[in-house]
């Protein structure tokens, strides 16, 4: 691959005086732009469609370009080393990398520049993979890549060195949600010396897991696990729990968020997932909740927690961990006979019934006094829905995702039933059995050994639940076209149908609005990248933990919560946070204090007019509070004096990019005319190149 690392050394503006590297704050005379252009093959991803060497050659015609190089993988160590060496030798003082989308590697290259002593903000990224080689082919791809790389050099020439904004960070965290994800994250943070406020909408800690019995596949008692975790949270001196509370306002920035919480309105359906109230009805509400003291365990609900008595209560925090959890899918009326036949229940309901009978055995399972001779469990209810096959809900949503936990939960329930009540038979109606986790496949095998009957249906031909006749001898009949017996139509008379309902994100529209949270097509909160930054959101200092992000089981949830906590600890560890310096800056000499920018500013407090003393006289000038500035640029567009601009994204830089997009200069057939500005043909080799 080394032969691909060709180099075009070009003379730059002021090579007579090679500069010491790392001259971040030096005066302007040292800052004559010398742009290094580094173009990536991406192992064929780019070079299969873009003639990378041609682009590199064309950069010879572009003003300000001191050197242009290529590499098989610019992001690799040797690729980064090319850039660092040119910076260290003083050949260049600004960098353009042309490679994949900036979301993947912009930070990689900024970091490399910093390691070489350069200013990481004198960097511009040209996206020639996602926006060129993967969408265009042949000469047009090469030509567009040329223009986009040239445009990047146009901006790079105008980039000034910037320093990150340093913001003192409170070593405090707010965790929103008191399920196992929130509890786990709160404990982790507290044990690393961070003060935690845990905010929970309901009166209980334990969330979705508290509604379960024995957990698949290892059979731990959910109540015991929740009681232990919640007990440690309630006892921890660094954690304050505010239950029965909702977030009512949110502002500030990483290191210094300000949040208000208020008592959740009583009887408001929003105070718990819709499922919770439905479940309370299903199980029969405990009724004596008022008698519970914090720390007491209420079966099916969790550990009672101290309630926020009055509000609003103002919280100041350095980071926020979102652990808002999931809601059980609620079957539509009539879906598999739900709400039409009392013998059709959800699997979560069946699991609670089994939890209430933990340790009991008998010949046949009794439910509401009724012997259950046969139970049919239908999988994928409200999960794996297919457009055109399944009916959308009233808001037009389909749950196309797999809910991940239901197969194991259903099989675990089947084993419990078969082993405790041998005269109760279990029929599982499934599409694919997804016992993926450690120990789960063994439970599946055990179910077969327990004579659980498996019947496989296709999404297009789901089972049908109908009222049984006297001849059937059972109240319900499940009709299915069973793919395991070559598509035979089978009727299975049963006493009970349990619907293995999937997971949906918890209903948190207010939080999504207040914190401006990104939501995926599946309506779960959307991480920055599933592998690069799996527990982070675009808003710095806000992290994701658990099933608000995607369906997970308890162990996976705790992993995610700890992963979020570790990021928060790393962020707060130093007591300050460094922010990107892409904020507005006022040129005080040009500012006339007209206030147009303050008028246009979209974030209250970011811009203000103030009186300043200049040459003994008092004048009005605009002033930016960098930590509050969003960097949107609304101010820059309206300033009549062009006295305010966004660092790193200035209007002049955009104008330069447009100039280069329309310019045909890179395409000039060069030869050795040496007449075009910036063309280096025939000139001396750059030192150190």
């Amino acid at each position: 691959m080394a032969e691909l690392e060709k180099t075009t050394p070009l003379p730059a503006g002021n090579q007579a005086e090679p500069q010491a590297n790392g001259s971040r704050t030096d005066g302007s005379q040292t800052d004559e732009p010398r742009v290094g252009v580094y173009i990536c093959y991406c192992g064929g991803n780019i070079s299969d469609h873009v003639d990378v060497e041609a682009v590199r050659e064309r950069m010879e015609n572009v003003p300000g370009v001191a050197v242009a190089r290529t590499n098989m993988f610019m992001c690799s160590d040797p690729g980064q080393e090319l850039i660092m060496e040119d910076l260290r030798s003083g050949t260049i003082n600004r960098v353009v990398v042309a490679s994949c989308a900036p979301s993947l590697h912009e930070t990689t290259f900024r970091a490399a520049i910093a390691r070489a002593g350069g200013n990481p903000y004198q960097y511009e990224h040209a996206n020639i993979r996602e926006q060129v080689s993967w969408v265009h082919h042949g000469d047009p791809a090469t030509d567009k890549a040329t223009r986009m790389v040239a445009a990047a050099t146009g901006k790079a020439r105008l980039l000034r060195p910037l320093e990150p904004i340093r913001v003192d960070a409170l070593r405090r965290a707010v965790v929103v949600g008191g399920g196992v994800a929130g509890l786990r994250a709160a404990l982790d943070l507290a044990e690393r010396g961070i003060e935690v406020a845990l905010v929970e909408k309901s009166a209980f800690l334990g969330g979705g897991v508290a509604r379960l019995g024995r957990l698949a596949p290892t059979g731990e008692d959910a109540a015991g696990l929740v009681a232990d975790l919640a007990g440690r949270v309630l006892a921890h001196p660094a954690i304050v729990v505010h239950a029965g509370a909702t977030v009512t306002s949110f502002g500030g920035y990483v290191g210094n968020f300000k949040m208000e919480i208020s008592p959740a309105p009583a009887g408001d359906p929003a105070t718990g997932p819709a499922a919770a109230s439905a479940q309370a009805q299903e199980t029969g509400a405990p009724g004596r909740l008022a008698d519970l003291a914090p720390g007491d365990y209420a079966p099916g609900r969790g550990v009672a927690a101290p309630l926020l008595a009055s509000g609003p209560l103002a919280l100041e925090t350095g980071v926020v961990v979102l652990a808002t959890g999931f809601a059980d899918y609620q079957p539509r009326s009539g879906e598999y006979g739900f709400a039409e036949h009392p013998e059709v229940v959800t699997l979560p309901r069946l699991l609670r019934e089994l939890a209430a009978r933990d340790g009991q055995t008998g010949n046949v399972l009794l439910l509401d006094g009724r012997p259950i001779r046969r139970v049919g469990i239908i999988h994928c209810v409200g999960s794996r829905q297919i457009p055109g096959v399944h009916q959308e809900d009233e808001n037009g949503h389909l749950n196309e995702h797999c809910s991940r936990v239901c197969c194991s939960a259903a099989i675990n329930a089947a084993n419990t039933i078969r082993e405790s009540w041998p005269d109760t038979h279990v029929y599982e109606f499934y599409r694919d059995i997804r016992t993926y986790g450690r120990g789960q496949e063994e439970q599946y095998a055990r179910a077969s050994a327990n004579k659980v009957v498996f019947l496989r249906f296709s999404a297009e031909e789901p089972p049908v639940v109908r009222r049984g006749t006297e001849a059937d001898g059972f109240p319900l009949v499940l009709g299915v076209k069973d793919e395991l017996t070559f598509g035979e139509d089978l009727d299975v008379p049963v006493d009970l149908v349990a619907l293995a309902t999937g997971m949906e994100p918890g209903p948190i529209p207010e939080l999504v609005d207040m914190l401006k949270l990104p939501v995926g097509a599946d309506r779960f909160l959307l991480e920055v990248h599933p592998k690069l930054r799996p527990v982070e959101l675009p808003v710095a200092g806000v992290f994701l933990a658990g099933t608000c992000q995607a369906p997970m089981d308890a162990g996976e949830t705790c992993n995610a919560a700890s992963a979020a906590a570790v990021k928060a600890v790393s962020l707060l560890g130093r007591g300050f946070v460094e922010l990107d310096p892409f904020v507005a800056e006022v040129n005080a000499e040009a500012c006339t204090g007209c206030g147009a920018c303050v008028e246009a500013c979209l974030n209250e407090g970011a811009l203000a007019l103030e009186e300043v003393e200049t040459d003994g006289a008092t004048a009005t000038r605009a002033r930016v509070t960098p930590a509050l500035c969003l960097g949107c640029g609304a101010c820059a567009a309206v300033c009549p004096e062009q006295a305010i601009d966004v660092n790193g994204w200035t209007l002049a830089q955009y104008e330069a990019m447009v100039e280069m997009i329309v310019s045909d200069a890179p395409f000039a057939s060069c030869g050795t005319c040496a007449s075009r500005a910036g063309c280096g043909a025939g000139a001396e080799t750059a030192p150190g190149a």
């Binding site: 989308a101 900036p102 979301s103 996206n127 993979r129 996602e130 926006q131 060129v132 993967w134 969408v135 265009h136 082919h137 042949g138 000469d139 047009p140 791809a141 090469t142 030509d143 567009k144 223009r147 986009m148 445009a151 401006k516 990104p518 097509a521 675009p538 892409f582 246009a600 979209l602 974030n603 969003l630 960097g631 949107c632 640029g633 609304a634 820059a636 567009a637 309206v638 966004v646 994204w649 209007l651 955009y654 104008e655 990019m657 447009v658 100039e659 997009i661 329309v662 045909d664 395409f667």
Partner: protein, 141 residues
């Protein structure tokens, strides 16, 4: 497609896309990840929020030889509260000034593109392509 330009064989006229960092730009990346092709005269610039650009920026671009501009914003999902409304108001003023100069306002479009709006993205660039074919490659007649 129309006559190839001297260098590249792509349709004449350059389309400039101002794509927001948090929605439309990753949306364009998503089109790339799907390997859906679109005309190579579409040039995408990453912006934090298009509200940065004053009216004169658009007019200057058209004067410099850009044939059409698509502002791909986040729409109502905009992380900068109020920026989309401010942008919509600015667009009205851009159109006024374009009309004053006899420019067809179809050369500038404001739209919302999400991070997975592949089809919408392709529709937008193809529509602008049609506009350029109808009106000519550049606004500077």
């Amino acid at each position: 497609m129309s006559t190839p330009d001297s260098h590249s064989g792509v349709p004449q006229g350059k389309i400039l896309v101002l794509a927001t960092e948090s929605c439309a730009y990753p949306g364009a990346d998503s089109v790339g990840q799907a390997h859906s092709s679109y005309p190579a005269n579409v040039h995408i610039l990453r912006v934090k929020a298009p509200v940065l650009f004053p009216e004169r920026f658009y007019l200057d671009c058209l004067e410099k030889g850009i044939g059409g501009i698509i502002i791909m914003s986040c729409g109502e999902e905009c992380p900068y509260e109020g920026a989309y409304k401010a942008m919509a108001r600015r667009l009205d003023r851009i159109y006024e000034r374009m009309k004053e100069r006899g420019l067809d306002i179809r050369r500038v479009r404001l739209t919302a593109i999400c991070t997975v709006c592949n089809r919408a993205f392709l529709n937008e660039v193809n529509q602008m392509e049609q506009v350029l074919q109808e009106l000519g490659a550049t606004a500077a007649a």
